[in-house]
Symmetry: C3
Subunit: 337 residues, 3 copies
């Protein structure tokens, strides 16, 4: 599939600077692009690459003098996304229908136009909405409800009674709804507490690969509408992640913590249990969050503190040997007076 | 199933304050409880909720003036656990028997009353004890021995020769016994060393979802009786975790490290290889442990130090810019004298 | 299988000190060895064990007075590895052939002498080289290319179009090629961007269990020849790991970061996106790397700094309360003058 630059610009409501008739068939990085590719200038620090790129065109946010044809768009990354979708499309799934080699309980309720692959299990009383794709080796437990147009990639596991909304994507080897980490220790022995809650994943959520989300002890664990979780994320029992959050990867959220909407959480962040993270909070990679955080905060570090202070403070750890020596000199000098 | 408050109190050896005849059918949080629910007062900071809760009764540790009927129990969290088990029960597993769609080696030895689901594999010479449940897509490798009344959730993988005791629970997508990370580097090339050891998981252990436990290089990797591992935990080759430990989640334990009994290890902790953690040690979340630790220690931070010092010390990182300025002022003033 | 000490020494090009005729049948640790075992003295701090070990012989790097027969080898750990391979061998895989219970697409191209187990899926147009072993519940996506003599352990998942070289080992429950974490946020909603790249894993790579490697957004994600990744590692879209690197476990590498050859990265390290790590770089466990790193650097800490400084500086965090008091005393004293 190829489009003229003009067609692409029209599709994203952008403006062409240069020849609108050139044909573009793919997206590529500035470094690897050929004349039939369109590229994207994400980061000003790569702008030297403009001088050497062989890209046929570039999507940018602001008009700038350039020998290469441009699409100027108000939200250039969103324009880029739309063009990738137009030229390359989302992943196509095999028109499998319901495989005879899948194990579908007679009591399960499967919507129209679902594709359920070999070696997938849909357990008793499970409900699957229309157009949902279930890849091989997926396990859908008893009484699970899955909405329409979801994609469950291979070997993901949905424990009993969990609920997934519409347009939810669960990537491979992810576990949804295993028991919360709940034991009552009595006389040195840890007794397992049945976890009565479940996991609810709202519409338009994507969960990465190899994640593990615990069901709630007595309350439900919730991932809000439109939130996107990266890979290898651990969510504790009863945690509630608000809508439209971005959680990058390897994040751990302990039980019963609540996170607001539109938060952005960096890689390897750890958040303790029973605290409240406000709305639109940004948490830097590897932070350790041990207290509740107000709306719009931007925090970094372990323990996590305001980013404007933290960037400076944590960088000064390197100076500690020098600072200690200075203090010792001052003390010695004071004692000699 | 519902019980009177008096029956519940008797079951947990507790004392009723208030009407012992009210019917309770479920557990719930103070916030969400209805009059047929019993709740639990885990944490004093939630005690305001007592005034607004609609719970029919509350389990507490100490008698206190309250308009709501109470069960007073010496170990209230354990009483709560017993009541959850009584009212809700542990997960029921499908009475699957041995599925014709499972792949059971003729040389495997399967105990009575096992349930082995579709698309599970039990390899040559594996032994499975009585009453064990093996969910779909589980892989039990050659010569594996699994005790009685175990539960292996979907897509967990047990490599060859590993040994699981009785009443062991392995959650979904967990890997037991993959090769230890062992390579001999010679002339810049890393040569894989066969890992001769195995993983031994003793009785009453639960392993969370998406964990990965390496088999030992020449010694075995061991998880001691009654220990409970959370999700996404990495255990290195030859590590030995003692009995009745609690490991929360996303913890990494490097090879050949030994951990005593009744240790409690927080989320995202990392422990280097070849050290010895004593008994009853507590390690705070995200700590980095690089030295051996004596019995009963309570450590936090990276590098991990005594918690009583660490909480204060790590909080002072925030003050480093001010401290540096103060030192500079003092030095300037000293030089001017 | 047993060998004389002389035969073992000859096999590793080493020298026997003591009786070359004793029979050795296995490797063991100094602590657990019996007279038919050979052991290895990895670490001088264990050397007291030489006095009490019952090992029949020991592999060492330097000749030393010892009552136990020795093999002295120039690279003793490599000699040990060769002897483990000779005496114990690598894992034997079942001669399964192509199982009738595997799902092999008619358009897939399977090389000679492959073993594909029950409940594995090989999708349309996939290519599998000679002698490759595919365990149960593996998913090989459409248009994937896998080389010869690879091993794919149970429940690993290879998304469409990814490429694996020869002699690649992918451990259980690992995910290769799920979509990169790429969303364009427009008016508060996160729009998924198709990830056009793939994952390329070169020859002789081993990937641990429960890892998740993202396919590139527009560039490919690459793991270079002979690199060895431990367990539960997250690799972001478009990251490029050079040849012969060692990545221990629970490491996170964000998108588009480039790592040179022969780097050694410790457990739980996090590396931000869009930076360049040089060749032969060593990064200590739990480090947080936020800037590009030159060749041969040895860094530790969060933020990661030169190890020679960091070991001292991070240890001084413990002294911060004392240092702050000293500064306060000095200030008070200065003000009183």
């Amino acid at each position: 599939m190829s489009k003229t630059l003009g067609q692409l610009a029209e599709h994203v409501n952008g403006k062409v600077i240069g020849d609108a008739n050139i044909e573009i068939s793919a997206v590529a990085t500035l470094d690897t692009a050929t004349p039939s590719d369109i590229s994207f200038l994400a980061n000003p620090k790569y702008s030297r690459a403009i001088k050497t790129t062989k890209a046929g065109a570039i999507i940018v946010g602001k008009e700038a003098p350039c020998q290469i044809p441009l699409i100027v768009a108000a939200d250039p990354y969103y324009a880029f996304a739309q063009i990738v979708i137009l030229l390359h499309g989302h992943r196509k799934h095999r028109q499998e229908g319901i495989s005879e080699n899948a194990n579908i309980s007679p009591s399960a309720n499967i919507g129209k136009n679902c594709h359920i692959h070999d070696f997938a299990t849909v357990s008793d009383n499970a409900e699957i909405g229309e157009g949902t794709v279930i890849y091989p080796n997926v396990f859908v437990g008893p009484n699970v409800k899955i909405g329409s147009n979801c994609i469950l990639y291979p070997s993901c596991v949905i424990y009993d009674r969990c609920i997934l909304g519409n347009n939810v994507i669960i990537n491979a080897n992810t576990t949804i709804g295993k028991d919360g980490y709940g034991y009552a220790t009595h006389k040195g022995v840890h007794h397992k507490i049945p976890q009565v809650g479940k996991v609810i994943i709202e519409d338009d959520v994507e969960i990465g690969g190899n994640c593990c989300l615990q069901r709630g002890a007595i309350e439900d664990t919730i991932v809000g509408k439109g939130s996107k979780l990266g890979d290898i994320i651990s969510v504790g029992h009863g945690a509630k992640i608000g809508p439209y959050c971005l959680l990058v990867g390897q994040i751990g959220i302990a039980g019963s913590t609540t996170i607001g909407h539109h938060c952005v959480i960096g890689g390897q962040v750890g958040i303790v249990g029973h605290i409240k993270i406000g709305n639109c909070v940004q948490i830097g990679a590897q932070a350790g969050v041990i207290n509740s955080v107000p709306d719009n905060a931007n925090i970094v570090g372990t323990p996590a503190i305001d980013a404007s202070i933290a960037r400076r403070a944590y960088a000064l750890i390197e100076d500690l040997p020098e600072l200690k020596k200075a203090i010792q000199r001052l003390e010695k000098s004071a004692n000699n007076e």
